[in-house]
Point group: C2
């Protein structure tokens, strides 16, 4: 196979993958937003069929030969082609190293585990879920060994979600979080809570929908390329830079809930909307990693969206959309309310300050689960003990404890740390940006265009051209430094709570 | 190839076709309902790719051999298998008899013609659309000759949309429509128009959405298998009997518009929802023809939905959803209003009585277009003359004249007659049903379940097992008789307008 033939084959593969990913992505989105409930069966048939086709598209000798040909002649290929071959070969290796029968058995297990978890959570019945979790842990450990039997299994899993992540960097990261944040969290708990009652009035969903449009407008999200829908859990999905979707969920008596969902998902969307034209319809057209993606969503949600200047810009918009509810509220009052910090049970509802400790608990648990030094039956007790140790919170039941997250039921062990990493990356990006210009005047005017242009140039446009550590270094000119994150949180909450 | 192998191959083909049709159907629906405007480009790429795959799925020697093997051994196959092979072979022949390069050129022409038509309609500029229409006519004439060079081209096209339809039956059908309906239309025009003003007040779209749910409930549409969305033009699409979608379009000052769209599309939906379990995920799982489909939608919309008993059931529901607007309205007043008849310009807004003549005009024009005895430049004048002759209406411009329908721009010549045929089929079905039981007590109570069960048994469950004429004969026990349709219309409007 000549290099030219290999590149043609690779392009053909990517065009096909894009088409199938697009189709399956829309089927899935439709299932979450518009499809009637009984449609699941037909969708299952279709998804199963198309998954089989995409498997065969990638896993065949011709593709293997093409990718190897390009990788052996990297210098003769363009940098984009070389990187595409690299990522596709990683994907090929990941897919082929697991024996087909194990892969199928694992897929079935996950489907069943998910259904069991849903019911277990509802009924607060950990025992029914435990055998599934045990098998999921076993499979993940085994799959990690197929990938690299010389590295600790949990390191392999971490690297699978966030290239370059390992316990060597995450152990000190989470230790630092605990060391620096625990004292502040304890101090904040002694202070009077800010008034949040005005955010908990009745906000008709019809008005919240209009408010979402205004928020997306403030964020500079081009609506001809990005639509919003409603789902139980908010998410972002993208097909190409001309077609990105975010979703939110409206609670009538909690306007901040959807508001920060829209800003968070809007951050994910801006990343995808900002990928370069020349990488569209290839495997490079997407965020660099989960962590980098979270860095963008949390950048907009917390660093910008929960700042005082943004609250100043937000208040008149809220007062326009909700005149009765927001009457008499000040920007400072809004700022205090959206930053109320309080140790709590549920990760997804945690504030910016306590959030990293929720992740630290999951990280610690996953490490022990994969190491095999704790039995599955003992996990709830361990969870509850850690919530008490890390956050001073007593867990009343498993529903609000170990059963709260979908991740483990979905087979995702090693995924949680990227949430905290993303937040930490974001703070370093903000510092780098502030060296180039002062963003806060713009933010106060509700104009995020210069900020998005800066992130677009440093992060968004590159897609998956660089590995996460490469991209971070190229964007901020330095390596990962978690102390920036703890320093940021310490200062923000010391100011807010006058510590 | 053994029969067993052939059947396995055919089943494999159908499973694949179902998956691709489902995926492409959802992509298209998403494009019409939820996708951002700039998404068209990426969707075009994906649809193009998947169309190519589905072409190759069907058009290959192995499929040909399999289908021929089954057709040669029909008696050894089950009736379902034999019918599947028959329909798939028809599809295979239709697809392969057109040379690939002509097919591609025609697809491109249609895509362009559609865009040009949109603009031409907006700008009332027939001249810009004319060269496209000319080519479309030429292609259709040529494609018809590829299919059967011994039959008149227009007969071939008619048969393509409605198996068994031909000028031999449609010429007398439309002649009868003109002969019987024109005098009534003229008489009605002399009578005072009923009061419709209460339907043209402000009906907030939010309330209309709730009303749509109530209408679907009245129709007995199972919502776990059928969802509703909003599009510019209402339509129905189905993926299998567990996943059917209808759409509507809300006009704030015209509540009847969306109301009858929901009932019409609901009729299409009930057809698809009622197909038998054992034909799902095969090529049989769909309505028998366009005409049969319209027979169902117009059955619910006109025969039931515009009847006095249904208005009696509808009124309290409308009064619940729109108490201010519907105050003091009587069932008789509602019945008169939703049946106002008036010769008009636009087919899609025509009433039940004048509608067939709109179709008659298109039928006559298509016949001449395909025969080639009228130049494309002369078509608007012919259109306008026929509107004057058939309906006594003066066409002020081409936008509201020859450019009003999308069909010809979409390459659909020979499609219109199925609308009128469907209405006529429906009346014969109603007569047959009335021989089995009196439906009107049920209708007055808002209970359509016995009616839907009857249609389900006679029509819906069969899917494409029978040809349209076979199905009609099996359902009503007699052949097609258009005089039932004219008699029904004559009686209804004579009563309504006291002629």
């Amino acid at each position: 196979m000549t290099l030219e033939q290999a590149i043609a084959k690779m392009n053909e593969l990517q065009a096909a993958q894009q088409a199938y990913n697009h189709a399956m992505g829309v089927l899935s989105l439709d299932g979450d937003t518009a499809a009637p409930s009984a449609s699941a069966r037909g969708r299952g048939e279709t998804m199963g069929y198309l998954s089989g086709v995409t498997y065969k598209l990638l896993v065949n000798d011709e593709v293997k030969e093409a990718l190897e040909t390009i990788l052996q002649n990297k210098d003769a290929a363009t940098p984009l082609q070389a990187r595409q071959a690299e990522l596709l070969k990683e994907d090929y290796d990941d897919t082929t190293r697991i024996p087909m029968d194990e892969y199928v058995a694992y897929s079935t297990l996950i489907t069943n585990a998910n259904a069991v978890w849903h019911e277990a959570k509802q009924k607060d019945d950990y025992a029914s879920f435990a055998p599934y979790l045990e098998q999921i842990i076993d499979y993940n450990r085994r799959f990690a060994s197929y990938k690299d039997q010389h590295k600790p299994a949990y390191d392999v899993l971490l690297d699978g979600y966030e290239k370059g992540a390992s316990t060597a960097t995450l152990d000190p990261f989470f230790a630092l979080m605990r060391e620096k944040l625990t004292p502040i969290i304890l101090e904040v708990a002694q202070k009077p809570a800010p008034d949040c009652s005005f955010l908990e009035q009745r906000f008709p969903i019809h008005d919240q929908r209009i408010f979402s449009d205004r928020l997306m407008q403030m964020m500079g999200i081009p609506r001809d390329r990005c639509a919003i829908a409603e789902t139980e859990h908010p998410f972002t999905t993208n097909f190409n830079k001309w077609d990105v979707r975010i979703t939110t969920n409206y609670a009538e008596t909690d306007v901040a809930d959807s508001m920060y969902s829209v800003i968070h998902e809007g951050g994910h969307a801006l990343y995808e909307l900002g990928t370069a034209d020349e990488i569209q319809f290839t495997c490079l057209a997407s965020g660099a990693s989960m962590g980098l993606h979270e860095s963008q969503s949390r950048f907009y949600e917390n660093l910008i969206g929960r700042s005082l200047p943004f609250c100043r810009a937000l208040l008149p918009v809220m007062q326009e959309c909700f005149p009765d509810q927001m009457k008499g509220v000040t920007a400072e009052g809004l700022y205090a309310a959206v930053n109320r910090s309080q140790p709590s049970l549920i990760r997804t509802q945690a504030d910016e300050l306590t959030y990293p400790l929720h992740i630290a608990i999951r990280y610690e648990m996953e490490k022990r689960m994969i190491a095999g030094d704790v039995k599955v039956g003992e996990l709830p007790a361990l969870w509850n003990q850690m919530y008490l140790d890390y956050l001073g919170v007593t867990v009343p039941n498993n529903r609000e404890g170990i059963l709260q997250d979908v991740h483990w039921a979905g087979g995702m062990i090693g995924y949680f740390p990227s949430y905290a990493l993303g937040s930490a990356y974001g703070v370093q990006m903000l510092h780098a940006l502030e060296k180039d210009f002062d963003p806060w005047c713009d933010v106060e005017k509700g104009d995020l265009s210069r900020i998005t242009a800066w992130l677009g140039d440093k992060i968004h446009r590159h897609g998956r051209m660089l590995t996460p550590p490469q991209l971070l270094r190229s964007a901020i000119g330095q390596d990962f430094d978690p102390s920036c994150y703890t320093a940021y949180l310490t200062k923000k909450f010391a100011d807010l709570y006058k510590l």
